[in-house]
Amino acid sequence: MAKLTIPAQELLRSGHSACPGCAPALAMRLMLKGLGPRTIVSIPACCWTVIDTPYPTTALGVAMLDNPIESTGASISGLRAAADALGIPDVTILGFAGDGGTADIGLQALSGMLERRTNAIYAMYDNEAYMNTGVQRSGATPLGAWTTTTPVGEGSHGKAEPKKDVMGIVLAHHPVYAATVNPSFPEDFVKKVEKARDLSGPRFFHIFAPCPPGWRYPSDQSIEIGKRATDCGVFPLYEVMDGHYHITRKGGALKPVREYFQAQGRFSHLGDADLDRVQAQVTADWNRLVRLESET
């Protein structure tokens, strides 16, 4: 048998209520492989509230606290303060929130947690819309995407505004570590989580989290969609430590964004002109990232 490339320990239990092919479920599995059993995770209202299964069961092999949708940043500050005040050793505090609970309604609490240098990890699993309520647009929904509140029809062409740059917002707070991760690249994912685990201070993960029903693609394509997103530059894998950028996956020339967009029903109304504009933006963003890496 080949050597395992990620830790064997499973802290995500089977029997959970995620949809088939759910990347946020896989993301939690990988996150906890990296952080280990002495993790306390605070989770706001999001898909994971439901994925974890109803009382009296839980799908996590670690301690978990529920919190309302907008206060994950504050919740992990409270958990850290208690752990420090009570002298609880070797505990990792994790906030695990969706894009709506992070980029929209939870942005204030996230900013507060980063600014007061809370020694905790905040992870945003980004499925690019309010999926738990049935696919409504969030600030993290990309330009042009269909959602139930950005319909496609006469006078509407999917979301009219670009995606909020959450990494940019987070990096403006100068966290000790911030990284993008993608469950399609589990080794890179877990390696970054293990690195973050051993640091102290505010740490942030932006997790790419494809959603088969919300993005309108077959459930067996979650990993393929993720690979394309990174390889075409829509979701580059990088980390920023002490202000230094490091791109952790560079596969030569970027693949065309078309392959990524055309695999998803939420973009099926976009035409060549739309995709050309997207391609230009993605290329510019990638070049900027490469420049940041060389300059920092």
Binding site: S14, G15, A18, C19, P56, T58, P186, S219
Partner: protein
């Protein structure tokens, strides 16, 4: 006839059971009836069991509760017959209508009874509704319902599809028509089965505060799947990719390092089959 007709739909998240119950209500209204329909909100996830209800009467209804003693049970997914108590409370003389590729005679009911079967998966796929793994069968099933009961007329159903189905209206009209013509019913009366109440509230002492500490592994999410991975070990290179990418932690290893499917938990998403480098995993239809 009884003043009120009660219909209970059983399906999976994503199959259109809730839409079916609403569409039936719209069609019944076009027939001049007074309908009521609503879903049971639980843990609706793509593939998870879903229940929805429709009541049809000639005058405003005086009850707003779940349907526990239905006249008709419509099952949109045959595997639910094994895993869900779909016939609970079905009335004496009631009807069980199932989406199945098998003839109605082969449907096994606890005590015999009237049952009808229609291959709605095939109809849906023929008309391009949904996908092969998740066909949207609701309109085909409603067509079948119109054929084997008098709860709704085919004319009203056809009009309701034209007015209220958001997309692919001609295909859905055709699917309803196919369901109407293809359904087969077999007779006999079904003895009345008393309704089994929902899982009773905890009688054990609750913890101090809402602290959940039992394992989710009590839920056998295999109930959700329509496709099942079959591992061809002769092609397997023991690379672990199936295990690594599984969102449901549904793989373990045998002593030699070959993957073993934890069949109780696999939801049949198919990621393992796509990611398997030597293509040693095949997705086959659940029997």
């Amino acid at each position: 006839m009884a003043a009120v007709i009660e219909i209970r739909f059983h399906g999976r998240g994503g199959q259109g059971a809730v839409v079916a119950s609403e569409l039936l209500a719209q069609a019944a209204f076009l027939d001049g009836k007074w309908p009521q329909s609503f879903p049971f909100f639980g843990v609706e996830r793509r593939g998870a069991p879903v229940t929805a209800y429709t009541r049809i009467d000639t005058h405003p209804l005086g009850v707003r509760t779940s349907i526990t003693t239905p006249d008709v049970v419509v099952v949109l997914e045959p595997s639910l017959l094994r895993t869900q108590p779909v016939t609970d409370g079905l009335r004496d003389g009631g009807l069980l209508l199932v989406n199945s590729s098998h003839p109605a005679e082969e449907l096994v009911l606890p005590a015999g009874g009237r049952r009808a079967a229609v291959d709605a998966n095939r109809i849906a796929v023929t008309h391009g509704l949904g996908s092969l793994t998740m066909p949207i069968v609701n309109t085909a099933m409603l067509g079948a319902l119109a054929a084997v009961t008098d709860v709704v007329s085919m004319e009203a159903l056809d009009r309701a599809i034209q007015e209220f189905v958001p997309a692919r209206r001609p295909e859905n009209q055709a699917a309803a028509s196919d369901g109407y013509h293809d359904v087969r019913v077999v007779g006999g009366t079904l003895p009345f089965t008393p309704s089994v109440p929902r899982a009773a509230a905890a009688t054990l002492p609750l913890p101090e505060g809402p602290m959940a500490s039992e394992s989710s592994e009590r839920y056998h999410t295999a109930d959700w799947r329509t496709l099942r991975p079959v591992i061809h070990l002769e092609k397997c290179t023991r690379c672990n990719f199936c295990w690594k990418f599984c969102p449901d932690d549904a793989f373990s290893f045998d002593a030699e390092g070959y993957p073993v499917l934890r069949t109780d938990y696999c939801k049949g998403c198919g990621i393992c089959a796509v990611e398997c480098p030597p293509r040693a995993i095949e997705m086959v239809e659940e029997a």
